[in-house]
Amino acid sequence: MPRTLFDKIWESHLVGRRADGRDLLYIDRHVLHELHAHHGFAQLEKQGRPIRRADLTFAVQDHTVATKAGRDDNTNPSGAAFLKAMRDGTRKAGIKLFDIDDPDQGISHVVAPELGIVLPGATHAVPDSHASTVGGVGALAFGVGTSEMTHILATQVMAMKRPKSMRARLEGKLGAHVSAKDVALRLIAELGVAGGRGYVVEYAGAAVRAMPIEQRMTLCNLNIEMGGRSGFVAPDDTTFAWLAGRPYLPQGELWDRALAHWRTLKSDDDATFDRDVALDCGTLEPQITWGTDPSQVVGISGRVPEPAALDASRRPAAEGAFAYMDLKPGTPLAGLPVNRVFIGSCTNSRLPDLEVAAAVVRGRKVADGVVAMVVPGSSTVKREAEAAGLDRVFRAAGFFWGESGCSMCAGGNGDRGLPGERCVSTTNRNFENRQGPKVRTHLASPATAAATAIAGRIADVRQLLAGAA
C-alpha cells in the first residue's frame, strides 16, 4: 500500500493503543514555554509523578520577556512570576532552559529548528498552537493544551486519534516581493479558518520546493490558522543543507546515517490523501487581512469586500469585522493610514524576514507618527542581524530594535498597541484585542509591513520600490 509521509512518521512513532481507543504516539522532542509549563510541574509534583525524559525536553522563556535593551525579569512586571517559576521548575527537573539571558534564547518555534533540536521525520510537541512551524524542516509537530503537555512530561507519548491527511499543492513561481506569508494567507482565505480541521497537511508543489526553509516555516506556522492539526513540508536537499552543522543535531558518522534515513522521507508517488487541494501561486500579489480572522484576506490592490460578494456563512463575521476594524465595504486597503507596524513573531522573525524588511527600509524613514518595531525571533537571529548591520538600517529609519521574544504578537510582555490604533503586523492572528484592547490588526508579510511603515499607509511594496527606482 502506498503511504503518505504522514502515514510513515505516524506509524513509525506508534507505541500502542490505549484501552480508550487512542493511539499513543512517541514524542521525540518536547519544548515548553513559561506561560504553561508551571502548571505541568505543579500537577506532577502533586501527583508524585516524575518527568520521564527530561533529556528530550527543552524550555524557553518567550511569551512574557520584555524587549527593551538591558531587560531582566522585572522589566515586564507581569512576566516575573512566570520566568521564575520556569527557572525553578526546569532546574528541579533537570530540563535544559534557554533563559532570558541565554545566547540561544528566543521564541520556541524559532529556537528549536535553529539549534537543530527538531529533526526531519521526528515528532515534536509544544503547549502552543503554532507548534507546526517546525514542519518547515520536515518534523511532525503538534500544539497541545496544558493537560496534554503534562501527560507528555509524565510519559513522553501523546494520546490522540489519528488525524486525516491533506495535501496542499502550491504551484507556480512566486512573483517579486511575494512570499510564503502571502501564499499562506491566500490559502487560508480559500479554505477558511476551519478548512484544515482534523487534518495533517503536507505542503507540496513547485512553489514550496522553491521556498527556503525559513519561508517553509512561515507556511507551516500558519497551518493552525486554517484549523490544521499539523502541517509540514517533506525534507529535501534544501532542508539538509540548512540543518547541517546545527549544534543539537547528530554529528559525524551519526549525521551520515541520519541523512541517509531522512532522504527516504517522502510520500509515495501514488499515495492518496483524504483531501487534496491546489493553489496556483504564480499570479499572486502581496496579501493582507482586512478583518478579524486570518481568512478575511484580499490582495494588496483589493478592497474590503461587499457583503453580497461573500459566502452567506461568512457574512455575519464580516459584519462584525467591518465595525471592529472601522472599515466600510469597498474601501481600498492600500492607502489606509496606520499608527503602528510590528515585524516579528514565530511567523516572520527569522533572519531572511528581517533582511527583506531591511532592504525596503534602507535609506528611508518611518513616516511621521508611526510607531514601528522589529523584534527578532531569537537572540541568535538578533546577533546575526546585527553582524549584517540590519539593526543600524532599522534604527536609522526610526524603528525600535528589540531583544528577542513574542512581544507584540499577543502582547504577553506588555508590548501592545493603543485602543483604536491600526497596525500592520507580520504575526499570525488579527483577532479582536489580540495586540491590545481595540487594536485593529492587519496581517501581512515583512515586505508589506516595512513598506507600510515608510509610507505611513498600507502600501504595496512593489510600488514603493518602483517609485524609488
Binding site: 500502542g16 480508550d20 529533526l119 493544551g145 493537560s147 501527560h151 476551519a194 484549523g227 551519526l254
Partner: protein, 208 residues
C-alpha cells in the same frame, strides 16, 4: 478528573461561528500564575468600553447568569491552545458545550477537563439553537451522557453521538496519565528499538 454523567442547567445561546480562545479567555495585562478563571470567561465581551457590564452579552442577561450549558455554532474554540479557555468554563460550572463543530485542540482540552463537547449535525443544531433561544432560560436542560440525550423544555429529547472512547473517559473521569502509564513496557520497548534504529531520535545533546 471529575467524572461526567449528567448535567442539569440553563442553556445559553451564543450565536456565533469561529469563537476563538482569545475571546473565551483573553490574556489580561494583570495576569499571574494563579489566574481567576471564573472572571476570565468572555472577559471582554462581558464589559463595555468604560468597564461597566455589557447588558447585551448573553451571559450577563439575568436568565443566563447561571447558565451551565453553552450552545453555539461552528468551529468553537479556534486559535490559541490555551487551556484556560476550558478552565474558565468549568470555573463557571459550564460543563456542556453544544456546537456544530469544535476546533481540534479545544475539543481535546474539553475532554481533559470533564467538559462534554457535543456536536450536533447542522440541521439538528439549528433546530436546537432555535429551541434554546425560544426557551430563553425559562427552565433547565438535562444532558445525560449515559443515555446520550438532551432533554428539557420546548421539545422532545435530542439524541447525540459521541465516540465511545471519549464517552467512557468522561463517564469514568479516567486519569489520562494513569491510562497511558499502563503502557510503560511498550513505551520502553519503542525507545529501545528507536535507540538502535535511529539513535539520533533518542539523544538531544549540544555538540558545542
Amino acid at each position: 478528573m471529575q467524572p461526567f454523567s449528567t448535567h442539569t442547567a440553563v442553556a445559553a445561546p451564543l450565536l456565533k461561528d469561529d469563537v476563538n480562545t482569545d475571546q473565551i479567555a483573553p490574556v489580561l495585562p494583570s495576569r499571574g500564575l494563579k489566574d481567576d478563571h471564573k472572571a476570565m470567561l468572555f472577559y471582554r465581551a462581558r464589559r463595555r468600553d468604560d468597564g461597566s457590564e455589557n447588558p447585551d452579552f448573553v451571559l450577563n442577561k439575568p436568565q443566563f447568569r447561571n447558565a451551565g450549558i453553552l450552545v453555539t455554532g461552528n468551529n468553537f474554540g479556534a486559535g490559541s491552545s490555551r487551556e484556560t479557555a476550558v478552565w474558565s468554563m468549568t470555573a463557571n460550572n459550564i460543563r456542556v458545550i453544544v456546537a456544530k463543530s469544535f476546533a481540534d485542540i479545544y475539543r481535546e482540552n474539553c475532554l481533559q477537563n470533564g467538559v462534554l463537547p457535543i456536536v450536533l449535525a447542522s440541521d439538528d443544531a439549528d433546530a436546537f439553537i432555535a429551541r434554546v433561544v425560544q426557551v430563553n432560560g425559562a427552565g433547565p436542560f438535562t444532558v445525560d451522557l449515559v443515555a446520550q440525550r438532551i432533554s428539557g423544555p420546548g421539545g422532545p429529547d435530542v439524541a447525540f453521538a459521541i465516540p465511545a472512547a471519549d464517552r467512557t473517559r468522561l463517564l469514568e473521569g479516567l486519569d489520562d496519565i494513569g491510562l497511558t502509564l499502563k503502557h510503560m513496557a511498550e513505551i520502553k520497548q519503542w525507545e529501545q528499538r528507536a535507540a538502535a534504529a535511529q539513535p539520533w531520535l533518542q539523544a538531544a545533546k549540544d555538540s558545542r
